[in-house]
Symmetry: C2
Subunit: 424 residues, 2 copies
């Protein structure tokens, strides 16, 4: 037994998903009560009932003892779908929507993604980093320790590279792990209106080689939707990305069923995201092709849509349904995974335990990171959250507030909530 | 001009509602950009454009200069409808509802309010205070500086008095102002099943005189609803309270139109709360009787109801529509007013400015406290929030996260968000 090199977490209501051997999920989890965990900066060494852990790992031998004091402990959230690299907010569009404009109206008036594109093209790398870092602070303050992060508000060679470089710089400075995704095919930029194929050529022949050459992305993604890219175009983008060494993700079937999920199955995408309108017959194809379905209830909520992703149906089909925020300035301005748990419970009838598994282990699968994060199991990173809560159900139940007490990333304290709540 | 006794707030995007001379609201507000405010512990001395303020109140003369650094400043929220005195949470019922149980099913199985009643009766005053104080911390951490707070999980003479005494003790220890309401008529307790009139007699003849004698409440409230108290019973409770010196509030028409709003107009209640099913012809009666309509969108959201309060209709009718959380362990476990602003925008089509006015000035009217709180106008308390935001629209738009940077109560710093967001 190592001496004075490991830390011991005690007195925890310790919740963790349990990994399944294959792709299909058995939705297993454990709640150790009281639970304990032994870890160091290299990873988790042991997890279990406190009595059993303490027998083998006595607290007198620990370099550090952390008491959760009866509080809930979970893995850090893995937010597997975010768009955090933009400059200014689009709060004015929120007001327009409330006054009756649709998302499509706003886009046609030069707003929406096109506004963010003009705005990002004018911003320097420094300015983008300056606004990105506080967003990462809010992710971690709400319990998220790993995010997938997309480019896609650049839509030119230089602006897409700039977006991905900003992610790389942020990752060097911030404890949140960032898995970068190249989303050059997010929209057809104004300069290419009526010349869709010319823009796709730019994405595939100029942007993609530069992104790969500079090592700026792990995934390639495309917005497959009636008013953006067709299924055939989306497939071409993803296959080009795969050929260049990136893994595929896709925005599929958000507003209509236009074959996005089928593209995901055909190319063997790691995840298919949104899926509000994916037909039931696709479920078995997604399972066979090992595509993780990612639900984004925050966007449905923010667009006041009555239609959410078919989470229950896909759970019954054995799919490892994942949850993410879809954080972006137009359709989901929220860095909060607990908020997504609440929406998944109320709107998609997922139980608290299901929402937690979807937001940790399954979302880690959606970015192929489940070998290192997404559960508190031996060998994984010690990424965990101590909550101001006593049970898993409290996270979706006690909504709209920050219940995080502290966050550990790779075994080190990375965030602590304000203790300075002053009383008279 | 006083020397070194006043504080100066500068560089603010300063938003404030403007009080109307009469009861009907003109929904006026001002955004001073950059704005400044002069205040001391007795109240606000001057508010306006920074240049004009500084001419008269030079910063060299100020005892304290606070820079908002271009951030949004608003009045502290007034949450005019909360039920914060309960012991344990009811997260397990949230899970039951997701699995298909209705709120009425849960109540019939001994859950719901009846669970909280048994639970509170067994808790000591100390235990209740111990769980109430962190809830007040969360109110202030989300920008609320004044709450109305109801009893109503006691339902016996001793347990109702205990609940109100806990509120009194908390108010002495915490910067959040508490306006207490006696809600003995929240439910018929188990011991009085089938003996409704006997319970109402207990409320009116035994509880009420004790509450008044000990000076424990400002308002009396009743839950007027098909499965609880009828319109006639509700009226009797409120009139008894008024006769004893309390002002009236009512839970009206939440699940059905059963005449609750009409009772409010008839007795001249200060507010009528919920109103999801209030018919349109009541709007002019509420206006004539000067009853503030309080919308509680958090409860509609939490119950997955498609029906929200008729806010737009009542705004058009000239009514000073107010917003509150309805914070309670069964139907709205959230201390966050910003979350209510988001729901009011998305679900009730209130603009960001309307939601802010409803959550400050109008909610102050709903507890007859608009002479001292609810706007940043001369003579009122210096209760204000500096937000991690630049415009009013950001508060509903940037949802599910805590955007409060700091909170001042009666001119003194009462809460500051964690600065300790650690980066590697």
């Amino acid at each position: 037994m190592a001496d004075k090199t490991w830390s011991l977490l005690l007195d925890a209501e310790l919740f963790t998903p349990i990994s399944s051997p294959g792709f299909a999920s058995s939705w297993q989890s454990r709640l150790f009560s009281p639970g304990a965990m032994v870890f160091d900066e290299n990873g988790i060494i042991a997890v279990g009932e406190q009595a059993a852990i303490e027998e083998k790992w006595p607290r007198s031998q620990a370099a550090q003892v952390i008491s959760a004091a009866g509080r809930l402990v979970t893995p850090g959230f893995v937010d597997c779908h975010t768009h955090p690299v933009f400059h200014n907010l689009r709060a004015h569009e929120f007001t327009m929507r409330i006054q009756g404009a649709t998302y499509v109206d706003i886009s046609k008036a030069g707003g929406g993604i096109r506004y963010s594109v003009r705005d990002l093209q004018q911003a320097s790398e420094e300015q983008l980093l300056h606004v990105l870092l506080p967003r990462l602070d809010r992710f971690i303050a709400n319990g998220t320790t790993t995010i997938e992060a997309k480019s896609g508000y650049g839509l030119s060679v230089e602006a897409e590279l700039k977006s991905l470089r900003v992610l790389q710089r942020a990752a060097e400075q911030h404890p949140v792990d960032i898995v970068p995704t190249f989303l050059g095919a997010h929209e057809v930029p104004d300069a290419y209106r009526g010349r869709r194929q010319a823009y796709l050529d730019l994405v595939i022949e100029e942007m993609l080689p530069r992104v790969v050459e500079e090592g700026l992305a792990t995934f390639i993604d495309v917005f497959c939707e009636d008013h953006v890219f067709t299924a055939a175009e989306s497939r071409a983008v993803l296959e080009a990305g795969q050929k260049a060494g990136l893994a595929a993700k896709i925005h599929a079937d958000q507003l209509h069923d236009n074959g996005g999920a089928a593209v995901a199955a055909d190319v063997g995408a790691v995840s298919a995201d949104h899926l509000e309108h994916t037909p039931e017959h696709m479920d078995s194809r997604l399972l066979a092709a090992q595509v993780v379905p990612v639900m984004l209830p925050g966007a449905d909520f923010f667009l006041s849509s009555p239609i959410y992703g078919p989470a229950r149906r896909m759970i019954e089909a054995g799919l490892p349904v994942a949850l993410a925020t879809d954080f972006n300035p137009g359709t989901c301005m929220s860095e909060s995974m607990p908020m997504m748990l609440t929406l998944a419970g109320l709107q998609m009838r997922m139980t608290p335990e299901e929402t937690l598994i979807a937001a940790t282990l399954h979302s880690a699968m959606a970015i192929s990171a489940h070998d290192r994060v997404g559960s508190l199991e031996n060998g994984k990173q010690a990424d965990f959250v101590i909550w101001d809560a006593r049970s898993p159900a409290e996270l979706p139940y006690h909504f709209g507030v920050q219940l995080v007490q502290s966050v550990y990333k790779k075994g080190r304290l990375a965030f602590q909530a304000s203790a300075a709540r002053q009383r008279t």
